[in-house]
């Protein structure tokens, strides 16, 4: 089974990288960009019988720092 795990900063947590990207888009002349937030995509191949609890534990214990980040799991 293939997993795609999206790790994003929680709302309200300052994202200097997103702000820099936003700024650079403006410099390139793209108008109308209102906000940019940068995150991570982690793709994993796991055994088909890997259960949701194990996937959730992987995210909480390592893949995301839940002090500052949210995560969302997509099964492909």
């Amino acid at each position: 089974m293939k997993l795609r795990i999206f790790v994003t900063l929680k709302p309200g947590v300052l994202d200097p990288q997103g702000r820099a990207i936003h700024h650079a888009l403006g410099s390139l002349g793209f108008a109308g960009v209102e906000d940019v937030r940068a995150g991570k995509l982690i793709e994993m191949q796991v055994a088909d019988d890997t259960d949701d609890a194990a996937i959730d534990a992987m995210c909480r214990q390592l893949l995301a720092n839940t002090v500052i980040e949210n995560f969302r799991v997509e099964r492909a």
Binding site: L14, P16, Q17, A20, Q61, L62, N65, I68
Partner: protein
């Protein structure tokens, strides 16, 4: 007093910390590899050094915090052994859950490498007794991810309980409430971004950092 310095792949301040500890204790620290599962017995202080453990992959300190030796460090911290984390060591201690909050990319996005003014926010911790409350000191910083973040409740609790040990005396990295270093609830774990181990001899440009190690030695009483 016996001390230990934890060494991860990518640590680069481990020897500086070892020199600082040896200078004040007169005893060479044990250098403990990240893959070890046990610490030497009878340690007075455990130091977690700066650097770029595991290349800062995933998040700064994230992989190091899950390495085998950190389980032993957490157990020792739980028993009250003083643990000092500097720079990447602070990031490792937050990732390991030994200190609250997280260290994020500097607000200005730049790597900051210079001397900064600090205020001793609490001169009464196990680590800061060599300083007066409110004293201004100068330590070098060298980091890309020193922007301390915690939710408002956590920040209020840290302030209310006197757990902010050091505060920046000038804009450095966007840290919440200018926090440069904090201690845990029990008071035996300190994490800080600035480098006291780089200020222990006059040749370093000052000795402000030396008093942290001397104070710690006094605390441990060895």
């Amino acid at each position: 007093m016996k001390t230990a310095v934890v060494v991860f792949p990518g640590s680069n301040c481990d020897r500086d910390l070892a020199v600082a500890l040896e200078t004040v204790t007169g005893v060479k620290p044990a250098m403990v590899w990240h893959g070890d599962t046990d610490l030497p017995d009878g340690l007075g202080v455990i130091a977690v050094p700066g650097g770029f453990s595991y290349g800062d992959y995933l998040r700064c300190g994230a992989i190091a915090a899950r390495s085998p030796i950190m389980r032993a460090v957490a157990e020792a911290a739980g028993r009250g052994t003083p643990v000092l984390g500097v720079c990447n060591g602070f990031q490792v201690l937050t990732e390991a859950g030994l200190l609250p909050g997280a260290l994020m990319r500097n607000a200005g996005l730049s790597f900051v490498c210079r001397d900064v003014a600090l205020t001793v926010a609490n001169g009464d911790t196990a680590f800061t007794r060599g300083y007066a409350d409110g004293e201004r000191v100068s330590f070098p910083v060298a980091h890309h991810d020193g922007n301390y973040f915690a939710d408002a409740d956590t920040l209020d609790r840290l302030e209310g309980e006197g757990r902010v040990a050091f505060r920046y005396g000038e804009p450095v990295n966007g840290s919440a409430r200018d926090i440069a270093g904090i201690v845990n609830a029990a008071g035996n774990v300190l994490g800080m971004m600035p480098h006291p181990e780089r200020r222990i001899e006059a040749a370093h440009g000052g000795t402000d950092g030396r008093r942290l190690f001397e104070g710690l030695l006094e605390t441990v009483g060895a």
